[in-house]
Symmetry: C2
Subunit: 232 residues, 2 copies
């Protein structure tokens, strides 16, 4: 039974960019399962499954509707305990993945949103551009152009954030240890978002983090690599 | 068989402050085991067990000598699989604790060292003061006083770092989930270091992180609370 995934896209439906949807796609592939994407723009989100949801990802799996990336990962784990590879590898792995998620959301996503917000806007069709600009400028209290005008100044902050990854990668090839686990997909989702929307040119070359990202892009027959890096 | 722990102290031997030693003390207590502290000053570190070590913690357990906090935690786990509570709760818990350790070292410890370096100096006896000032000023390229002169300016950065903890604590009471695990002791070690050396007055009141810290201080018959908070 194929999993139907509502996947956020811009004008070009072949370049899905939501970090949260990427986590789910990698988790589904990790379990060796199939998914069918339903390309969904920002303004279409509240029409998914007859309404009631304001964010992606959402999956439809037979009779089941599961919302939110971590919940979907737990659903896959619990529905397919004996299928594919383990997403968490123990109760401790689940709990600590919550820490990785919180770190990713508060540190990485905050940084990436600050860098990429105008690039995201530029990937959208006209109707979505209007929605995105209005909602984000209201939240930020400034224009998208003002928001990113000094974005180069924030690179040292990213380098500092990445130190946590680089130090860990001296000990093991993946956050999950010898093999990737859901925690890796959490962090991968963030960098895939940045990669598809803005590219990765701002990340210093030769870091362990970039080597890890290449390993992540190779996984599951190059699932992540199937969408090209932006050239902004 | 009691575990002998070489534990870093200043002039007042009743106030051990090393984050790495605190991780180990909490881990030993977590397993329901006993330890005996050997108060060790900075200049005594290279005399431990006839030399050969340049950092604490080091434990002597019968014939075994185990060095470095994470290695000691793994040693306790492997030596006492059926004693006390689990420190990691699965292979995933071990791997992800490495991420928590790397985050703690690169983000929290870096911040705390910048805040507390002069307070640490002031806790030492005269011989250790000379060693500490010379080695740290050489490394930093400035005096300890210069190092901390604008430390209040770094509080917003700490608040940002703590967002990762505060968001996670909306989901679960400990990094380890429903119960504390070694990952909690990794982060606790950092805040206990700050608490004993400089106090916690710079952390905004009413945050989930401080509530978590109170829970951590209550563990194991108030082991962490047995050393008072500094009043700097």
């Amino acid at each position: 039974m194929t999993i139907k995934l509502y996947d956020l896209v811009g004008e070009d439906k072949s370049k899905p960019f939501s970090p949260h949807c990427w986590k789910v796609k990698m988790a589904i592939a990790h379990k060796g399962l199939e998914f069918e994407s339903v390309p969904t723009s920002f303004v279409d989100i509240d029409k998914m499954e007859n309404g009631g949801f304001s964010t992606v990802p959402l999956i439809r799996h037979g009779k089941n509707l599961v919302h939110e990336s971590f919940e979907i990962a737990l659903y896959l784990r619990n529905s397919y305990p004996d299928v594919g590879d383990r997403l968490f590898h123990g109760e401790g792995g689940i709990a600590l993945s919550r820490f990785v998620e919180s770190w990713t959301l508060t540190q990485l996503h905050t940084w990436i949103a600050g860098w990429a917000i105008l690039d995201i806007h530029n990937m959208l069709d006209d109707e979505n551009k209007v929605y995105f600009r209005e909602s984000r400028e209201k939240r930020a209290g400034k224009t998208l152009e003002e928001f990113v005008s000094n974005r180069e100044d924030s690179i040292p902050e990213l380098v500092k954030i990445l130190n946590a990854m680089n130090l860990m990668l001296k000990k093991q090839p993946f956050i999950g240890g010898r093999y990737p686990r859901y925690a890796d997909y959490i962090v991968f989702g963030a960098f895939q978002w940045l990669r598809v929307v803005s590219g990765l040119h701002m990340i210093p070359k030769g870091t362990r983090m970039l080597e890890w990202l290449e390993r992540m892009l190779d996984l599951h027959d190059g699932l992540g690599r199937s969408v090209p890096q932006a050239n902004t």
